[in-house]
Symmetry: C2
């Protein structure tokens, strides 16, 4: 068989044998999908995709997204063949500690991986964000005769991706926006983990994508009809709509498990791999074998790509001559990914006499000013533009629509999950995405936020209506658990600012944070300006805003957001009612940043052996890290006007003062009873729940 | 105009004026959608729906779900007109504290509300669960000539619901399952909060639903073509497919804001309401006015429904005579909602000599036994049947499919969010749903879990692969933040059992917990049997499993799940290496239940002034409630074999022992330095992060 094989066949057979060998060496992984998708991968990389292995971040490269990330052995293999910095040893170290070849693709770990995938459906939504970014950069920077940006976005996905809601949301939006630069190859193998897709997935996928406004095609023999695959991709390239190509394949192609769920998630075993190799005319004794002919073929592919990059470099040089200002801006945003000089000077300041305002409103004021100062800022709201105070940005930046790709305001519709995943795609281009909804609906988009945190991608999450104090909409819309959820997530920046000064400082830090997402939790209700708040304090996460003269505090109140002004009023009341009290108040807009300060600083703010009481209109859970006693919630909220909610849950300043008083006296009593210091209580050991 | 109005027109006009008056009285809310949907509501309630106001849980009632829950003024108004226990004063108290008329529908607060909605898309998925439940009860209980169960599920939804991924997932599954008993009326008003749906939502909705296998219809004038609405509903009833009827309406119909986004989310104002009332021939001076004629019309509707319920009662009596056993079972599951006697006796026990097993495997063993003991148990997996160990249940209970509605195993496909929301619909019928996926993918379905917790609905979440120890799949699949997320959620039961004994006890408590969801976090990897574990201990949430003879412990190790056996081994090592150590070990399968114990019990397990070290392979955040020092994670996991992950993150018993040793000596040093007890540290004040 080997004799009669074309070079294409040899390449595909090589992919189909090395991938299961990677899985076999790892003793875990997914051999079936790489074997099924080998032909489409070979066609895409060898005939279509433009890329630069020596410069994986070449600005005009085509983007490839493996949405069914479990098939990553295939992706690593292709990157290896194409000359990326992935050696055969890296392939042999698949799924091992410290390797560049983890069990699912991680963009921050591996050269050539654009976005982190694996949780299904995310890659499709990422790709929609990338296609928006590509359209946008072309609209802004291309000039007559100088097509600086014409990169396209290619996606592989499986049944699982198409079943996920996030993919449905993103696909509907892609159709609406007419993103003809996205081409998705659907690995239509009719098999999922449970067995045949007949068990749960019998919808007419093509018809569904037509309903979204996509161009749809079918390749009947995706295992071997290379020209058919290529022709479909070419047709997709020339169609103005986003394209989905249903490529009919067999999972585990060539193995005894072909066409069965057994091929999906476990190594084939040495015996079966041996048989596969024999079938493809390979010597089973040669493991991880890539013939010279296959190497030569992919060397050709690399050379052709090198030429493409050089052509583009010449184009960019010419562009730079004719449009020096635009070239510099393109370089700054998409190549160097640097902020412009002095951008932060536009941020508004809020003096001592600033009026009472909701922090969503002061956030809106910041965003207004940033609109033109940061042309890389692009984003929108999940159909809550007036509520999230992003309308000012919209007015200046204009909508991004099919007919206005130069616009920077995205009308996401009620699609929170796709929104943030699209943001991840935008960030991968170098743009700074912002996305907006109600804080409670973080729970609708959390998986995408998590991936941004994991893969160290920037995104500013402008999440308003941040507590039970949103009022009448009630507990379905009132976040109570969300702050803890955020604080428990690694590398997720979080600010819950107390007033305009803290809002502006939070925006500044969010824009500066290039290595992860940052969430701003903003109030619906008006909050008084606090004269002691400061940008320097916000940068430390937590800081003293009211202190005691000439003595040690007897109690420290630590609060965030809307509870900071309440804590200040409660402190006044405590001291007025009882001259023995000396009350310090700490504003804690960001426990995340506070945790990063030195132990010395932390103890200087929250002194040892002084009783500390935290105050936040959210579940108490987690505040035990910072306080001995917690004023917060133990249940969901309720539907009522804000004043009734405040009273019901004990957040009026006089109620806070009285609760603090009784907590202190109760803990004194307990301390005496148990013979310990009043500051000795771990949360659960004190009398309070 | 009043003179010429038909009684139907009068009813609709009444709905169209009282609803905005409710919003006006509340000074907040959503008048537009109720005014737009008034005609379809009137047709549905007065001509179609079967219900029993005096017995809102009548087993064979039709179900109504308002998926666009913000329109709930409409639903409350209909319930009031139909004679449910909702007075005019309740309507006047819309969105006020303690009222039965909160800002979004809450099933546990209001008679006649079937499921809690508001977070968009959920209601559609709930309805799919209800349609499954209805089909299933009919298949099991109906007999020739005795159609005990023929109730249908009606849904109202808006554009927002249809944009959400959860609705897309559920609709695809409903089409696959051929749920002809679901009839959805889509309030197609072309307006969302941001403005026209042209901004973001231009897909062909009918075509999309056809692609799922739904029957689609359009009512061109949904504002006034009552017969057209009725005819479409009748056609939907007789079609074997699930149905969506696109009802073209105008938001805010009859007001000056008709057809605009301004009608959506703010009171119209007294002036505009006055004009609406004049337009509909009503006296603006009469607020909250329902004429005698309208009352009489809805009295007729009630009488007809009363007759239907009585007819059914006669049918059930006849059924009971002919099929006493089946009747008793129907009564138990769907009316009394009681567990059968001695059901728990089937649960397996795990003796001292039980072999090492993953807790997902012992969970599978429990589920196997429960399959036939609990005929109300119904559920499945999001395409992870082999991994979640739910295959044993599947084998015995059989698939629920279009052609086998008597089956109880649901093939959800890769649709986690719809899965749990469908579970909420199943639970609303009285069935006990279980749903399964990987623990990390709680993040894909959390909004539905939260609604179960909020509205006190049962569901058993069988979530496996519960930590970084799942290994090679890597950080995209390894939960690290999820335990904290769960613990921060009110009324969400949570068990992370350490061995088979704790698994069986957790299952028992999960089945008994009828007032909320319960999540079981189960290991992928094998765990040794621990002889000291007990069901009684699990019921207390945390309990001592290794103690110190004749003295006070010098340190307490508290751990959950897979870290309990590691803590035991570490305790042995600590004592062997240093005879000064006396180590207590506490197993904490459920912090949720532990928090509910008395302070006395809690302090008896975790003694004051003894250093406590927690050990869990998850983010440390939140453990400060229970411990002075935390062994856990501060970052995402990584892709590697389990043994390397254990070592890398310090979870080998000897590493734990050595960490505990250094934590203790460091805290002694700090205590001396700062002049406090070593047990005085609040988390952030100690040297550790």
């Amino acid at each position: 068989m080997a004799v009669s094989q074309t070079i294409d066949d040899q390449c595909i057979s090589t992919i189909r044998t090395v991938c299961p060998e990677m899985v076999q060496a790892a003793k875990s992984g997914h051999p079936g999908a790489p074997m099924g998708m080998a032909a489409m991968a070979h066609v895409l990389w060898s005939r279509v995709l433009r890329f630069s292995p020596s410069n994986p971040s070449w600005a005009n490269r085509d983007r490839f997204v493996l949405s069914n990330g479990h098939a990553c052995a295939l992706h690593y293999m292709m990157l290896h063949l194409c000359g990326y910095d992935l050696t055969m040893d890296d392939l042999k170290n698949f799924r091992q500690i410290g390797s560049k070849t983890p069990g699912h693709p991680e963009a921050h770990e591996t050269p050539g991986i654009e976005v982190t995938t694996g949780p299904l459906g995310q890659g499709i939504a990422n790709a929609v964000g990338m296609a928006i970014a590509s359209r946008h950069q072309a609209a802004v920077f291309n000039k007559p005769g100088l097509q600086l940006c014409d990169n396209k976005v290619y996606v592989f996905c499986g049944d699982g991706c198409l079943q996920e809601g996030v993919a449905a949301e993103a696909a509907s939006l892609a159709g609406h926006l007419g993103l003809g630069n996205i081409i998705m190859l659907y690995d239509d193998n009719q098999i999922s983990i449970d067995g045949s897709t007949d068990l749960s997935f019998t919808e007419d996928v093509a018809k569904r994508f037509e309903s979204y406004g996509w161009h749809t095609q079918i390749v009947a023999d995706g295992n071997s009809d290379l020209d058919g695959i290529e022709a479909a991709i070419r047709a997709a390239q020339s169609d103005a709509r986003p394209s989905i190509i249903s490529v009919k394949t067999a999972i585990g192609f060539g193995s005894e498990r072909e066409g069965t769920a057994k091929a999906h998630g476990a190594p084939l075993g040495d015996d079966l791999i041996e048989k596969v190799k024999q079938k493809f005319g390979q010597d089973p004794a040669h493991k991880f074998y890539v013939s010279d002919a296959v190497r030569a073929k992919y060397q050709e592919v690399q050379t052709a790509n090198k030429q493409q990059e050089e052509t583009w470099n010449q184009l960019f040089a010419k562009y730079r001559e004719q449009y020096p200002k635009e070239a510099a801006e393109f370089q700054r945003i998409y190549i160097d990914k640097q902020l412009p000089a002095n951008w932060e000077s536009v941020l508004p300041t809020f003096g001592d006499d600033a009026p009472t305002k909701a922090t969503r409103a002061t956030s809106g004021a910041c965003l207004d000013k940033l609109t033109m100062a940061l042309p890389e800022l692009i984003g929108g709201s999940a159909d809550l533009t007036p509520s999230n105070n992003t309308a000012g940005f919209q007015k200046q930046a204009g909508d991004f629509q099919a007919k206005s790709p130069e616009g920077r305001y995205l009308r996401f519709g009620v699609r929170e999950h796709a929104m943030v995943a699209i943001g991840n795609g935008l960030a991968s281009y170098g743009l700074i995405p912002f996305t907006a909804t109600f804080l409670e609906f973080l729970t609708y988009c959390y998986p995408a936020v998590r991936l941004a945190a994991l893969t160290q991608q920037q995104q500013v999450l402008v999440f308003t209506h941040d507590s039970i104090f949103l009022g009448e909409d009630g507990p379905t819309h009132q976040p109570v658990e969300v702050n803890a959820m955020i604080r428990a997530t690694p590398n997720l920046g979080f600010f819950r600012p107390a007033d305009g000064t803290e809002v502006a400082a939070s925006w500044k830090l969010a824009i500066q944070n290039k290595t992860g997402p940052t969430l701003l939790a903003l109030s619906r209700q008006g909050l008084p300006n606090i004269s002691a708040t400061s940008a320097a304090g916000v940068a430390q996460g937590g800081y003293v805003i009211r202190d005691v003269n000439d003595s040690k505090p007897t109690v420290v109140l630590v609060a965030s957001g809307s509870e900071v002004s309440a804590a200040l009023a409660a402190a006044d009341k405590l001291e007025a009612d009882n001259s023995a009290h000396k009350v310090r108040v700490v504003s804690m807009p960001s426990t995340v940043l506070f945790d990063q300060q030195s132990g010395e600083y932390r103890r200087s703010v929250l002194p040892l052996s002084t009783p500390i009481v935290s105050i936040e209109a959210a579940m108490k859970f987690g505040w035990e890290r910072y306080s001995h006693h917690q004023i917060g919630l133990s249940s969901f909220g309720l539907s009522a006007p804000i004043k009734d909610i405040k009273k019901h849950f004990g957040f009026e300043p006089e109620q806070i003062a009285s609760t603090v008083e009784s907590m202190l006296s109760e803990s004194q009593k307990q301390a005496a009873e148990f013979g310990v210091s009043p500051a000795a209580f771990v949360g659960v050991l004190a009398a309070q729940k």
